[in-house]
């Protein structure tokens, strides 16, 4: 599914990633750990296709439209409501039965009641839950999650636990975290960045 060989990424004179090699089979679960500034986000952006490696290569055997990406930021419009945001991305991703899918996800992540409120009025945790809805909207084959537990409260984290439990083994997952205890049992592979 994903094959990385001799991956190096530098921004000008600053080297962010160096000598990354790994291979992740279909439906595998790669856990990426490392301290702050070790390049976790950059690696995930390279896998998602948002950044190009300076040297080496990464091969991802899945179409861009089948990748789900959760970033540090929620990647949704502040001035729009949850419903409007998901509707826009649902159209761009050509999600079949869009309305039903959106309703189901909002329900599952406890956002149905606030679906018509603007994102700018959301708390950090609510934004993060909406971002998860956005990433899962098109039922991606490859799901890339950058620090998914950040800013989630215990309830939200529980919802995510349940989701990851379901997805592990059924979808390919790449998850970065600086606190691996929570999900390391699900992971099939582990990559530690220094």
């Amino acid at each position: 599914m994903i094959r990385a060989a001799g991956l190096e990424k530098r921004y000008g004179s600053r080297r962010v990633l160096r000598g990354i090699d790994f291979e992740l089979p279909r439906d595998g679960f790669l856990l990426v750990t490392g301290s702050n500034g070790s390049g976790k986000t950059t690696l995930l952006r390279v896998i998602a296709g948002l950044a190009a490696p300076t040297r080496g290569k990464v091969q991802v055997d899945v179409h861009r439209g089948r990748v789900g990406f959760l970033a540090h930021e929620p990647l949704v419009y502040r001035a729009l409501t949850a419903l409007e945001n998901l509707d826009l991305f649902g159209r761009l991703y050509r999600v079949p039965e869009r309305r039903e899918r959106i309703g189901m996800l909002l329900e599952r992540f406890g956002l149905w009641e606030v679906r018509s409120e603007r994102v700018e009025d959301y708390s950090r945790g609510m934004s993060q839950r909406l971002a998860l809805c956005r990433a899962l909207l098109h039922d991606p084959e490859l799901l890339i999650l950058d620090e998914p537990y950040a800013s989630l409260d215990e309830h939200g984290a529980g919802l995510l636990d349940r989701e990851l439990d379901e997805l592990a083994g059924a979808r390919t997952l790449v998850v970065s975290t600086h606190d691996p205890a929570r999900i390391e049992l699900l992971a099939t592979q582990r990559l530690v960045l220094a």
Binding site: Y11, G12, S13, R15, A51, A52
Partner: protein, 230 residues
């Protein structure tokens, strides 16, 4: 690091040739070519001004070509080549403005005239390429910067003919009476002087382009060596 030697190979010889040709061109234009009947001695700057202007165009064109190669083939080295070509083009563009101003002073008694389409076009281009440098220095180094710079460089070559057309059209309402400036009737010696000068300036620009490129590449190599040692 064997590549460093291949970058420099032939460069001293080319530089010497360029210097010699520049000397010959100056000799021809100031002492050998006959004085122009209408404009007198001031016409002699033509042998310097026009080749410099043509060379600036050539550099901008080269920069755009390298930019196209970068976008097309995705080879990172074209980014530096495109940048260096445009850098040289901007230097020669500034020289065009300066020599043009001197010519304007000698011919019409003013340092600047909006009547010369060539000068107005160069002023536009000079501003455009200064913005190119602003763009480059404001973006963080990396593929996005290379690609945005390349796109802007390509806009530059599209802007040259469109601006030229616009400036020609603008003559109608900006100053209906223009100076008549028929190209000087060139005699054989004049034409030779012009051609030698053109070749000399082009070669000089090429040598400067190579020198700057070598310097920038050595700098990058050095940085990588230093990192490897750490």
């Amino acid at each position: 690091m064997s590549s460093a030697f291949s970058w420099i190979r032939g460069l001293p010889a080319l530089a010497t040739l360029a210097a010699g040709l520049i000397g010959l061109a100056l000799l021809l234009s100031f002492f050998i070519a006959p004085e122009d009947g209408n404009q007198g001695i001031s016409q002699r700057i033509f042998y310097i001004h026009v080749p410099i202007a043509l060379t600036a165009y050539f550099c901008f064109g080269l920069g755009a070509w390298k930019a196209l190669l970068l976008l097309w083939r995705g080879e990172e080295r074209h980014d530096l080549e495109s940048y260096v070509a445009i850098h040289q083009g901007t230097i020669f563009g500034l020289l065009t403005l300066i020599t043009g101003a001197i010519w304007a002073k000698a011919s019409w008694g003013v340092w600047w005239t909006w009547d010369s389409n060539q000068l107005v076009l160069f002023l536009t281009l000079f501003l455009f390429y200064c913005a190119y440098f602003m763009l480059r220095f404001s973006l963080p180094e990396g593929p996005r910067r290379s690609r945005s710079s390349a796109v802007y460089a390509l806009f530059g070559v599209a802007l040259i003919p469109v601006s030229f057309l616009a400036i020609r059209l603008a003559e109608d309402f900006i100053h209906p009476t223009t100076f008549t400036r028929d190209g000087p009737q060139m005699t054989g010696t004049m034409f030779t002087a012009f051609c030698v000068s053109w070749v000399a300036v082009t070669l000089l620009a090429y040598v400067l382009y190579r020198v700057e490129l070598v310097g920038k590449r050595l700098h990058t190599d050095l940085r990588e060596l230093r990192e490897a040692l750490e």
